[in-house]
Amino acid sequence: MNREFLPAEDETRSAFDRRSFVKCALASGAALSARGFTAPALAADGQTANGAQFTLEARFYQKLDNRKIKCKLCPRECVVGDKERGYCGVRENRGGVYFTLVHSRVCAAHIDPIEKKPLFHYLPGTMAFSIATAGCNVNCKFCQNWDISQSRPEEIPAEYLAPHQAAAVARQYNCPTIAYTYSEPVVFAEYAMDTADAAHAAGVRSVVVSNGYMQHDSLVAAYGRMDAVKIDLKAFSESYYAKVVTGQLKPVLESLVTLRKMGKWTEIVYLVVPTLNDDDAELRGLAAWIKANLGPDVPLHFTQFHPEYLLKNLPITPVPTLERARQIAMAEGLHYVYIGNVPGHPAQNTYCPQCGKMLVERVGFTARQVLIRKNSTCPFCGHRIAGIWRA
């Protein structure tokens, strides 16, 4: 689960509500139908009676005896009996065939600044058409969007939005990217893949906001289609992943290395939870690992925790804790370390690692000024600034 939600963002969210996006999506579909596409009709409540239009055979699983299957999407490798669902709650075994129930089943859609993902070094100042389906393959006790991530698809309102419709909406609203976000894109990988293909055909890029808890092959197949990736690295200890996340750290680290080898632009968010993952040694280990395995130019965002869901007994992360984390990471040699969820903090800006001058000034989720040259260098000292700064 990502950390995009903040109360102050409500205004941004309401700017593009469900009704608007459906209206927009249908309009787009109608427009596209002239070129051979047809937008499926929506039921009165936005869903069909049996969800058939959202149901597609999954692409990452193995058939077993007795109509069982083994899911090969994430490291959990759920063995799922007939009529049962995997841990994510959005994949179901029907007679020995595994199905995703959330293809094109969009439960949240908004137009957000790309900085909200957060992606700070990828097309700053642009907007991302951001979509999600129900479900998640972990269960973080601090989840901000648990109402969608921890629900089964039939429990929450959703709309049909086919891949080509999503691409059309993005174009219509001048969004250079579609972001797969809010819940956990791992569990709607097939939809994200198909949408990324449709979007690329329409000249729109794709970014994904993910926990990275994925098997190697599915990661390569799905996120290989993405143009940028943000990974939520929840902690740098297996015990935290076991107790707080209900997952494992090692596969996430492996995913980060794989993404690096694939050449995907990647940024990392680390939600600092007081007393649980804010130990100096852990933070130092995290930064050292990133530098050694991914390089010093990978942006690292230390974000502020807010009590939510099943972790309401802890306080908001003190700003000095975030500042200490940033100092530790920079001392380890990382070049771009940010503080997130603290509006107005100077560590939301981008500074040149060589001359120290401010290159991107951010106010909230708005990039107020971007001084980086077209050739991605610092205008003051000429140092190359890692990132994809312009479309």
């Binding site: 007795n66 009996g81 007939d82 009529k83 841990y87 006790k141 089964r152 429990e155 209900t246 099943l310």
Partner: protein, 345 residues
């Protein structure tokens, strides 16, 4: 049995008609605090080898063929002795009156995931509703429910809402509470049927093997009460099953569990596998769901041994959540045979 009851039983749910007339129920207080377990828990196992008529198919143990009169009698034999009453209709009504107390609304949580082959029998539910009404609960105050209406229909239930009849529908009709209920490892939204239509909860599970949990009986039947059961299957559902049953909303309401073991499954669950089913022709009743689960688990183990299969322990999928539910932290009931009074009828 009166003619009215006969008609009511035959038509109820299947026809969607109203149940028998109310018998003077007194509506008083709502649910109380979670019950404290006695030092020993009684579990009644009632059997009737002649439960099925001569036309019942041997290779389809769960298929009807059940003599509904005998099933009603079997239910009486299971429930009445549990509370020290004679196993007569009068004794059974007194027992049910003890169960529902002054509760205004009573719900019966069935298990329909396995479909018609391995779900709580409609005939058993009818029999329970019959006695509940005789015990003074008005038909519209009785709700038969599970997670999903379509699953219930596939198991043979007829959805019925409104009017003066017994209500029958899935949580999908009313949804889940917005707020989370949390205990230990569990944080879930609860069915509004549980929270709003159940002063008293009657747990009506089935007896079957479960590939992950070992067995699924009364305690695990509560997975059908929450919005996110898929999150609680790792580690053999331990401690999730126990933690879930600790939720006050469940613990304070559940007064009785009657396990439908007319047909049971010793392997291959939770989906229905006819080849692993057998006509057990039994009902298990207890106030203590932990004790009931322990006894049911042993029945499955005995059947596995009889069929030449390894024990669940040997297969490393023994239902450890039962012991967890009985531990000092949970204390939901007893899982020690020395603390279980097994009454076989």
């Amino acid at each position: 049995m009166t003619k009215l009851c006969e008609r009511s039983r035959r038509n109820f749910l299947a026809q969607g008609l109203a149940g028998a007339a109310a018998l003077g129920v007194t509506a008083l207080c709502a649910t109380g605090e979670p019950q404290t377990r006695a030092e020993r828990s009684r579990v009644v196992v009632a059997r009737d080898p002649h439960l099925r008529g001569p036309d019942a198919k041997a290779d389809s143990p769960a298929s009807s063929g059940i003599d509904t009169r005998r099933l009603q009698a079997l239910l009486d034999q299971a429930v009445a002795p549990l509370f020290g009453f004679p196993a007569t209709e009068k004794g059974a009504v007194a027992a049910w009156r003890r169960v529902v107390g002054a509760g205004r609304t009573v719900s019966l949580k069935v298990n329909t995931l396995g479909g018609r082959g391995m779900a709580t029998n409609v005939e058993l539910v009818e029999a329970a509703c019959e006695r509940l009404q005789q015990a003074g609960v008005a038909a519209p105050n009785i709700t038969v429910w599970d997670r999903d209406s379509e699953e219930m229909e596939r198991a043979g239930f007829r959805i019925a809402t409104g009017g003066g009849r017994v209500q029958c529908y899935g949580t999908d009709h009313v949804g889940y509470e917005e707020d989370l209920a949390a205990w230990g490892s569990v944080g879930s939204r609860l069915s509004r049927i549980l929270t709003r239509s159940s002063d008293v909860l009657i747990n009506l599970p089935v007896l079957k093997d479960h590939d992950g949990a070992g067995v699924t009986i009364a305690l695990k039947n509560m997975y059908g009460v929450i919005h996110n059961p898929n999150k609680y299957h790792p580690n053999g559902c331990n401690p999730y099953v126990a933690d879930l049953n600790m939720l006050t909303e469940i613990r304070a309401r559940m007064r009785l569990a009657v396990c439908d073991a007319t047909a049971a499954m010793y392997e291959g669950g939770p989906g229905f596998k006819p080849q692993f089913s057998w006509p057990c022709n039994a009902l298990l009743a207890a106030e203590d769901p932990v004790a009931l689960d322990f006894v049911g688990w042993q029945m499955i183990e005995r059947k596995r041994a009889e069929m030449g299969l390894q024990s669940l322990e040997a297969e490393k999928r023994a239902p450890r959540y039962i012991a967890t539910a009985a531990d000092r932290e949970h204390h939901l009931g007893h899982a020690d045979p020395a603390q279980i009074q097994l009454v076989e009828v």
